[in-house]
């Protein structure tokens, strides 16, 4: 952990900021465009949760794999997934990362070992464990990161998969992003107040930490780096639970604090913990020139995202005869 005010540390913090800003700006642009009704698929935005994606992916090496669930834009982008192919997928175009067959909930970019996100809560967890199992069998040094939300820990699949990972001491990091809600259902109606998810994991023989600040990106990085050190030394899986908050509605581009399942007060409290603002304050303490830096980065990302969106809008739809391609890999 680079805690000092060295130029190296300042540069690193700016890099983290820049990564988060890029994801935020991409999603904000998608939010603006969504009402054009050209992205004709359900979209689950990650705005407010970028620090976990960035903090985790910063610790990864090329051979490490990432898998995720339905809210996966930030994970895909933080891992270095191709932006144009992601946006093409949202627009249902042939050049989409899943050829338009998956939509926003099925992102993949094998070139950076982002092996896939799927849309059934907890459904990807065993697949990630299987990839970790394969790594172990192949004696590969690659690890696996599985991102999921708080509700996934309520599924039997989480328990079954975590047990298997522990049993075989697999190189996998379970990252639980606890954003307090599953669609509109708050934690209180889903989990006992006495329950601690990290203790659940610990009881299965997994090193685990809970209650971590998921909006403080250097803190996320630090927790994950230490977890990855442990995983890479073949001790077995690690479970980390980060607290965070989803700013927008469960699915779609709007704010929905008015419909009654959460309060505006709660939202404002979390908004004050905006991962970008938290980091910006820290950068400003350490050095001057932050505004100029932000402006330069903003311009850069604005042009990148505009270009990707124009590109997606102009890209061709898949030809009708491709609809049956890929149902089976075998010929005939």
């Amino acid at each position: 952990m680079k805690k000092n005010d060295s130029p190296e540390n300042q540069e690193w913090l700016r890099q983290l900021y820049s990564e988060m800003l890029r994801i935020r700006m991409i999603e904000e642009e998608l939010v603006r465009r969504y009402s054009e009704q050209e992205m004709r698929c359900p979209v689950h935005f990650s705005i407010g949760q970028e620090a976990i994606a960035v903090g985790v992916c910063q610790t990864l090496r090329q051979e490490d794999s990432v898998l995720s669930g339905h809210r996966s834009h930030a994970h895909y982008l933080a891992r270095g997934g191709d932006l144009k192919r992601m946006i093409c997928e949202l627009y249902g175009k042939a050049a989409g990362c899943s050829s338009g067959k998956g939509g926003s909930m099925h992102l993949i970019d094998r070139s950076v070992n982002f092996l896939g996100s799927t849309s059934i809560v907890a459904g990807t967890i065993p697949v990630a464990v299987g990839v970790a199992f394969a790594n172990k069998l192949k004696k590969s040094s690659g690890t696996v990161v599985m991102f999921f939300g708080d509700a996934a820990t309520e599924e039997g699949l989480f328990y079954e998969s975590a047990n298997f990972a522990s049993l075989h001491k697999l190189p996998i990091l379970f990252v639980c992003e606890n954003n307090l809600y599953s669609v509109y259902s708050p934690l209180e109606v889903r989990q006992s107040s006495l329950r601690k998810n990290h203790l659940l994991a610990e009881s299965l023989g997994i090193k685990a930490r809970g209650g971590l600040d998921g909006n403080d990106v250097p803190a996320v990085y630090e927790a994950v780096q230490s977890a990855m050190d442990s995983i890479r030394s073949e001790v077995g899986p690690v479970f980390l639970e980060f607290n965070t908050y989803r700013w927008l509605e469960h699915c779609g581009p709007g704010y929905d604090n008015d419909i009654g399942y959460r309060t505006d007060e709660e939202f404002q409290k979390w908004k004050r913990k905006d991962p970008l603002e938290v980091l910006e304050k820290r950068i400003k303490v350490l050095s001057s020139g932050c505004e100029d830096f932000k402006e330069t980065e903003r311009k850069k990302f604005q042009s990148e995202v505009s270009e990707a969106i124009s590109c997606a809008k102009e890209a061709p739809f898949p030809a009708e005869q491709t609809w049956s391609e890929g149902v089976y890999a075998s010929k005939g």
């Binding site: 989409g96 990362c97 899943s98 050829s99 338009g100 067959k101 998956g102 099925h106 993949i108 094998r110 092996l115 896939g116 799927t118 059934i120 459904g123 990807t124 967890i125 065993p126 697949v127 990630a128 464990v129 299987g130 990839v131 970790a132 199992f133 394969a134 790594n135 069998l137 192949k138 039997g156 699949l157 079954e160 998969s161 047990n163 298997f164 049993l167 391609e325 890929g326 149902v327 089976y328 890999a329 075998s330």
Partner: protein, 358 residues
């Protein structure tokens, strides 16, 4: 590869044929793994996985936690990482715990990511029958799996088919649900010693005939063949088509047979309604209607769970006499039932060697 003519044939059981195909596939390809509850235990899934751990080591043959759903997803992870897992379930009924992973991930992974990662996975699902297996140890879900795009469903009847179709299923780039019938495990037949595969999606004409086509599979194929052979002496000429693969259905062989005979009886090894027999019936009704001389008939299990007690299970599974009664009606001919010797075996065992317990 197809079996060679000069291959040495031995008479072995269906279970030995499954085991031999597995051993030969694991010998030939290091990425083939065998896992499932009991795969390495002393009984070895009815003998089908015996010795795999000793021969290939703990890194290739696994017993698993009783977590069918997760292990199925884990197999997807293995498959997209270059492995070819064979997952065994000692009863089809246990496999229901993994329907989420089978339908949402196994069947769709290749399609939903635009064809980038196929899932070469064999899921063996063993269907129980007899000895009081009852409502939760005897169900055959072949049609449920066949309904899902992305899955293939094979159902071998003879030891020869079992070995060849298992080899084909392991080689296949797509997920294959491999339906095994518990009553067939003890069946003995000629099987080549060498490795060979039988193409998935091809039905087998077990018995040629001109008067009536019976389309069937698994234990019912054995029963139908018995009927066809017995009726030869009465100049009743039955063609028995064993599906061997439920999906993709060999429509051509079925339609060709119906074109020849003009009459179709479909016998389902599972429930009669909404099943594979219904699919075959629909196929012929839609595409072979002009060749039919009479209504298509179906036979299969009643719309009732399988009762455990022998008192109630006796009439549950169709037998030769039930098949003959329908054939009589369809052909308008009387069948001399005395050719069917009075059964020497109790109705709830497949052979004299079957002593339970499961």
């Amino acid at each position: 590869m197809p079996a060679k003519d000069n291959d040495r044939l031995r008479r072995i059981t269906f279970s030995e044929a499954i085991r031999e195909a597995t051993v030969q596939a694991m010998d030939g390809d290091d990425t083939v793994l065998a896992l499932g509850l009991g795969v390495t235990d002393p009984k070895g899934v009815f003998g089908t996985t015996l010795g795999l751990k000793e021969r290939f080591g703990e890194e290739r043959a696994y017993d698993i936690p009783v977590s069918e759903n997760a292990v199925t997803g884990i197999c997807v992870g293995l498959a997209i990482s270059g492995f070819r897992p064979i997952l065994s379930h000692q009863r089809a009924d246990f496999m229901l715990m993994s329907m989420d992973q089978i339908i949402n991930n196994v069947a769709k992974w290749n399609y939903m990511f635009g064809g980038q990662d196929s899932v070469p996975l064999v899921i063996r699902t063993i269907v129980g029958r007899g000895w009081g297996q009852g409502p939760q140890h005897s169900q055959n879900f072949q049609a449920m799996f066949a309904q899902v795009p992305g899955l293939k469903v094979v159902s071998p009847t003879t030891p020869y088919q079992a070995k060849g179709l298992m080899a084909a299923a392991i080689e296949d780039p797509d997920p294959v649900i491999f339906v095994e019938h518990r009553w067939l495990h003890g069946q003995v037949g000629d099987v080549p010693e060498d490795n060979y595969s039988i193409p998935i999606g091809k039905a087998h004409i077990m018995h040629e005939g001109e008067d009536l086509t019976v389309v069937t599979s698994l234990d019912m194929a054995v029963e139908a063949l018995k009927v066809a052979e017995k009726l030869e002496s009465q100049k009743i000429d039955i063609e028995v088509v064993d599906l061997c693969t439920v999906k993709p259905l060999d429509e051509e062989t079925i339609l060709n047979s119906v074109r020849k005979t003009g009459r179709l009886l479909v016998i389902d090894s599972s429930w009669k309604d909404f099943g594979a027999a219904s699919q075959v019936t629909a196929l012929v009704a839609e595409n072979g209607h002009d060749h039919l001389k009479g209504a298509i008939r179906r036979l299969g299990l009643p719309d009732i769970p399988s009762p455990s007690t022998p008192a109630l299970s006796k009439e549950y599974y169709p037998r030769a006499k039930d098949i003959c009664l329908i054939i009589e009606e369809m052909l308008g001919k009387k069948i001399n039932m005395s050719v069917f010797e009075k059964a020497k075996l109790p109705h709830d065992v497949p052979d004299p060697f079957f002593k339970g317990p499961f």
